[in-house]
């Protein structure tokens, strides 16, 4: 059972990474990137690496998203 869930999660990981890479709007890319990191947290917990999962959850979902959003907010008019 866990094998099927893991394969599904890895497939979703690839799909979300591709959406983040190929979407035209930057804001969509950032939100998809935080979905990517949330999926990665679940995969790391399945692989029994809680330390890494904690760091990934805090850094990728919290810090990186807000840093990107504030940077895009700053450079909106430049293009």
């Amino acid at each position: 059972m866990i094998e099927i869930i893991l394969m599904l999660l890895i497939l979703l990981l690839v799909v979300s990474a591709a959406i983040a890479l190929f979407s035209k709007k930057l804001l969509n890319s950032i939100i998809t990137l935080s979905i990517f990191s949330a999926l990665l947290v679940i995969i790391l917990i399945i692989f029994q690496a809680p330390d890494l999962a904690l760091a990934e959850a805090v850094i990728a979902a919290g810090i990186t998203t807000s840093f990107f959003i504030i940077t895009i907010n700053k450079t909106e008019g430049v293009n």
């Binding site: 904690l54 850094i59 919290g62 810090i63 807000s66 840093f67 504030i70 907010n73 700053k74």
Partner: protein, 236 residues
């Protein structure tokens, strides 16, 4: 009829070949005896040698503490450069205005975030966590405050100068802990290998100097990322 873009096909083939190559290398490295030697040593003797149950923190703050110093230095450099480069205009808040519901619920959440960060830092050698994750949660608290209540509210309590002072104190504390290893007769940042009492594994005060260096790194990382965000959020 649509024309095939040969550049994209070529780069797709190239990326696939690179992925196959990396997979092959990783599979062949995983079976090597020499690559597993240090890992086996850490797993077998890590708890006895360092006194910390969580082997990952034992590696990060005892065996490979110099790497942690490098990571902390990267954040220190980034915070210094961002604070230097961005303009010095003290100015208005962010554009978004939230309803009182959001402000009240953030005010309700913040103490729990503070408690969980202190828990992660002080139990870093016993359970998953450690100074780095706890410090990042502290900086996430300051980001939440800036987003919800505005830049002014944050700088009235903690301006960049105060946060930089705390960051410097954390960095100096970590270096002083490193010097303790030299004074005890070993190398820089050596901990329990030079005879500093590791304590009983599993107790709160164990692991030699590990809890102290956890707190130093947490102060450094938390305030460093807060300084970066404060400098970025400044609007003119």
């Amino acid at each position: 009829m649509k024309k095939i873009n040969f550049d994209k096909v070529f780069s797709f083939i190239l990326v696939s070949l690179l992925g196959l190559f990396i997979m092959k290398v990783l599979y062949s490295v995983a079976g090597e005896e020499a690559a597993r030697f240090t890992a086996d040593h850490y797993i077998s003797y890590g708890v006895d040698e360092t006194g910390a149950i969580n082997i990952i923190t034992a590696i990060l703050f005892d065996y490979r503490a110099f790497d942690t110093l490098g990571e902390a230095t990267v954040i220190f450099t980034a915070a210094s450069v961002v604070a230097l480069l961005l303009p010095r205009h003290e100015a208005s808040m962010l554009k978004t205005e939230f309803t009182p519901v959001v402000q009240q619920s953030i005010a309700f959440i913040l103490p729990f975030l503070w408690i969980i960060s202190i828990f992660l830092i002080s139990y870093g050698h016993l359970s998953p966590g450690g100074g780095f994750s706890g410090g990042v949660i502290i900086s996430a608290m300051s980001i939440l405050i800036i987003f919800t209540y505005g830049y002014r509210y944050m700088t009235r309590r903690f301006n960049v100068k105060k946060l930089s002072l705390i960051e410097d104190i954390g960095a100096l504390a970590f270096l002083t802990i490193g010097l303790a290893g030299i004074i005890a007769g070993g190398t820089f940042l050596a901990n329990s290998q030079v005879g500093i009492y590791p304590g009983t594994p599993g107790e709160l005060l164990s692991g030699g100097l590990m809890p102290l260096s956890n707190f130093a790194v947490a102060a450094k990382v938390g305030t460093g990322l807060s300084v970066i965000f404060l400098s970025l959020a400044r609007e003119d």
